[in-house]
Subunit: 225 residues, 2 copies
Amino acid sequence: LLTLHHLEYSQSFRILWLLEELEADYNLRKYDRDPETRLAPTELKELSPLGTAPVITDDEGLVLAESNAVIDHILDSHPDSTLRPGAGDPTRPDYLFWFHAGNGSLMPMQFMNGILTVMTARTPALLRPVVKKVTGKVREMLVQPRLKAIFDQMEADLGPNEWLAGDKLTAADITLSYSIFSAEAQGRIGADRPNIRRWLQQVRDLPSFQRATEKDGRETMVFSF
Amino acid sequence: LLTLHHLEYSQSFRILWLLEELEADYNLRKYDRDPETRLAPTELKELSPLGTAPVITDDEGLVLAESNAVIDHILDSHPDSTLRPGAGDPTRPDYLFWFHAGNGSLMPMQFMNGILTVMTARTPALLRPVVKKVTGKVREMLVQPRLKAIFDQMEADLGPNEWLAGDKLTAADITLSYSIFSAEAQGRIGADRPNIRRWLQQVRDLPSFQRATEKDGRETMVFSF
């Protein structure tokens, strides 16, 4: 039996949702962040090869981290699921693009954006204008244009498609959920993104998402810096 | 027939190597960076959904970007290849971990590190000490520990294993090559990482890697800021 080691307000919510969507049998072990540092507890960090959530373990000694690796591993044991369109399926290229673009392109930009915010906030007030100018430049020249390109593409793809890779929910939607809910929390999904807003509502309406939210016990999956 | 749109000194070298390893039929279209800005040419940016390399196209209207999506798509049409261990294969968890950790964990930290360097370098000399202190803190608290954790795990895994996921070259090695060669160029793969150094030599000795290097026509795949 698989155990999901789930950290509150973190990317591991996606795995919780995936397991609920699959109606899989699993153990859930929840970890709280340190109330002061907001970091994961040592116990979880020591379990994970890179000190990051999510991690799954099983009775046969498996210890696997890295969100998309965990998703692929879980889907391996559910070969009949439509969450991962197979080779030759017409939705496969869109699936592959969005499944990989989440952690490969979108998340790194969002993460960098968060770090730039922390850098500025932690600089003493007198020196802050200097750091604000430098971080502002990186946002303006790199982070904002790339985020815009990704959300523009997403908005366009969600025109003809109900979900990111066609008419069915796939693991691409699940893995991207963390990034899209983060973007919403930061006010990036405005009225000019009606398709992404519709997608967010679709997700919130899913019974599997609602069950995952209930098991998580938090009002949101999103971590704020 | 598939066309690889390959940008010099970029991640798309990995796709070139993959295609050579598979002895696939393909067209190669090469693009040079702008000699001054070092950015990709507009022509390539316009082709790619997110303005990034690699991109592949085919005769049936496919346009696919995002390195690991491209790798999975190409491997779909080579089902007998051992480059992607299938569900149930004992090397599958290691394969999935390293295949996803490259773009999901390692590359974002290396990219952030590069941006911190650029931020410092582009700050006027008088203000540079302030920015250097702030970026130094991010390196010390976030980037260096995470890079260390990843390379420690890699060094450990390459003890019992010849390649990252067992005794055979897989797409995990190919996708991670860009990050590992970058780390080598930055002096991060020292004498305390003998297994990763052995891996680098194994890669250089591969005929497919040598053919890809020849077709690329550059001395390295690595982009330096």
